[in-house]
Symmetry: C2
Subunit: 218 residues, 2 copies
């Protein structure tokens, strides 16, 4: 079963290097040499570098979406005919995000990859993620809509992305920030610790008063 071994060794190495340097800055030769695998193996097993990038994400997002759907199923069967509270929804999502990579001790990598998916060019990646995993986000957004009935649709849309930005930005840039925090406050900060700090901020942000209406010509 040398095949599986090669494939997973490529994936394991690629995700670390991608997370550290980004996609364009990581060459196939970087990956294959560190993984002690022949250069051509990537194109043989995955077809192309783009497909490898997508495979790296699929390995996280497939179990994530499956579990998150299950978690939402359970919540929906618990809260019948009444909206699931926002805090419960956020809690459920946070737990699922933590659960999946925890089994491989790669939470940091996963977070960094999520950040890269948003910020690196890689149009094919966004299309891939949207096509394969867009539905679970749509479902989540609909539940958030029911949990915050007083929020105008557009406002909720933007606030959800504000909060997504907060979380992904923070957790994906964690290493840099952690260095500063430890130097300034001598305090070691774990990811779980950060999520504990993030929760009240996110909830307060979602529940913030509505902005004053845009000024128009009077």
């Amino acid at each position: 079963m040398a095949q599986t071994d090669t494939v997973t060794r490529i994936l394991d190495t690629a995700e670390v290097l991608f997370a550290e340097r980004g996609f364009a800055e990581t060459s196939l030769r970087n990956i294959t040499s560190k993984a002690k695998v022949n250069l051509a193996a990537v194109n043989y097993h995955f077809g192309s570098k783009k497909a490898l990038i997508q495979a790296v994400f699929a390995r996280y997002l497939d179990p994530f979406t499956e579990r998150f759907h299950t978690a939402l199923d359970e919540l929906e069967s618990e809260y019948v005919d009444r909206p699931i509270p926002l805090e419960v929804l956020l809690e459920s999502m946070a737990r699922t995000v933590l659960e999946v990579p925890a089994e491989r001790n790669s939470l940091k990598v996963f977070m960094r990859l999520l950040g890269l998916a948003y910020t690196q060019a890689q149009g094919h990646l966004r299309r891939f993620i949207q096509a394969h995993y867009g539905s679970v986000f749509t479902r989540f957004a609909e539940l958030v809509r029911r949990a915050t009935p007083d929020l105008p649709d557009a406002e909720r849309f933007w606030r959800l992305h504000f909060m997504l930005g907060t979380v992904i930005f923070t957790l994906s840039g964690l290493d840099a920030l952690r260095d500063i925090a430890e130097k300034d406050y001598g305090e070691h900060v774990s990811v779980r610790d950060l999520i504990r700090r993030l929760r009240p901020v996110v909830v307060a942000g979602m529940n913030a008063p509505l902005p004053e209406p845009a000024k128009t010509v009077s």
Copy 2:
């Protein structure tokens, strides 16, 4: 004065391409051909690609820091012996961020560049920005400290970065989000509009209740 012309034409083109595709994905040949300038001009006028990247940032950040220092000076002379309210501080920063690129109609580019500075590898860039512009952020953070005396230092540190993440992430990924928003809500969203929406969320996030203390062994 062909020199200045070449230099600014390189900067103008480079900042747009960097903002669109990122640093590694933009080659000097992309830049020089689009700018109608000889390839060697970049190395002649700037020395290297890294130096060009830094020059692109300096052209925004030099006037920004100068004006922001001035704005903070004015606030400090207005609020003597009493803390400047958080809202006022945030308002002042937002106005300065908007002011600088407005003169060249390049707000989108500036925001995108800020996002890239955080998320792209480019260690030299972070070091450059920290070394040249770190002091204004330090000053701002100190004023925020006085404005939020009840917040523990570590908590305030993290929340500032949470909010920084929200703003930069949103504004730098604006184009992608705007497409979705317009499709779903038919509503055109300007940057000023987004900042109007961001303000109450950021303020509420900074003023959120403290998180429950980390659980320890009982």
